[in-house]
């Protein structure tokens, strides 16, 4: 980490130098965006959720009890914000065609669907088919590569429950992607 530490930036903001918050935004925006994009399946929604998360962090900066661990604190906020957005966002128009195990996206002819990303499309669509809590658990475990203890600390969900969610996510993805991966 170069430049002022998180603690120093936070202390500056609390003292009225709100410009310093931009240092925290720059430092963590890309760290958080991957989870948000994968969780919400839409860059637009991810952008909105991240903005909300950063603003929640800004408004509650006095409550960040361990400024030196701002990153983890912010990540918790991002997870919660994405959960909120996931429940609010309209369900993406996806449909699963069992006959061919091909995941298709139902869009109006000629329209460009929202949420295109660069990662393998099938995987993302399959991920979007999972219940939000399974999707979240899978992403935190296998994409963000957190330990179950870290996941539990961030989500407030017990380790056994998280393991179950990850397993069910794997089962669901395996079914959905059978035709893609021959899993």
């Amino acid at each position: 980490m170069t430049g002022p530490s998180d603690s120093e930036l936070i202390a500056a903001v609390l003292a009225g130098d709100i410009d310093s918050f931009s240092g925290l935004v720059r430092r963590y925006q890309d760290t958080c965006v991957r989870f948000a994009v994968r969780m919400l399946g839409s860059r637009v929604d991810a952008d909105d959720a991240l903005q909300s998360a950063f603003m929640r962090a800004f408004r509650n900066l006095r409550n960040c009890r361990e400024p030196e661990r701002f990153g983890g604190w912010l990540y918790q906020i991002v997870i919660n914000e994405c959960k909120t957005y996931a429940t609010r966002q309209r369900r993406r128009e996806l449909r699963f065609t069992p006959a061919t195990n091909v995941i298709e996206r139902a869009v109006a002819p000629g329209s460009e669907p929202e949420g295109d990303t660069d990662v393998g499309g099938h995987i993302e669509y399959a991920l979007g088919m999972l219940p939000a809590e399974q999707r979240e658990a899978f992403l935190l475990k296998h994409v963000e590569e957190l330990t179950y203890d870290e996941m539990s600390a961030m989500t407030g969900v017990s380790v056994p429950a998280l393991k179950m969610r990850v397993k069910r996510a794997c089962d669901g993805l395996r079914d959905l992607l059978e035709g893609v991966y021959h899993a």
């Binding site: 009225g16 310093s20 931009s22 991957r34 991810a46 903005q51 990662v119 296998h142 993805l173």
Partner: protein
Amino acid sequence: MPENYDEKAMDKDAQFAERVAGPLRAAEHVHPSFEKRVMEKVYAEGPLLYPATVSRPSWWRRERVFRISPLAGLALAAGIGTIIVLSGVALGSRLSTRPTAAAQTASAPRADTVQLVRFVFVEPSAASVELVGDFNEWTRGTTRLQRSGAPGVWVASVPLSPGRHEYAFIINGSRWVADPLAVKSTDDFGTESSVIRVGAAVSTT
């Protein structure tokens, strides 16, 4: 966890998860405008949440909401004029105000005496006029000018310590106006404010 979810099954899951997760681990980046958009919101709320303890808060240095469109000439053409009226030399003394021109000279006060400076701003169409400056830490809502008896004339008296002060007016809560009759000071971002010197003589030039 199912009883038959043994280590072999876990390994199988882990292998499958690894294949699926690989592409999902590709880096993502926020839109280039993300920081700017977040900071716009931060600047809008920040001064209220975290009042500045420095002489000039950062929202003033960065925020562009209050950019002046018409500067001195246009302001004058629109009927805006500002006069600084100097009071009696010591705060609490009997006020005997008199209007000043650009180079106001007062009777010589003691150098360590706070002086009551009366700011007058003329703008008939204004619904509100605020004064911000280094003396109130550029904090909006701190010093509101009041309507005087004359139509369109707004006034406020502010105790100022001797020395150089910078200030500006905010009209209707959004329009930043430097004093058209005073010396200008421009910050790094091109925003103009005005200068008043309080001391042995009070001057806006």
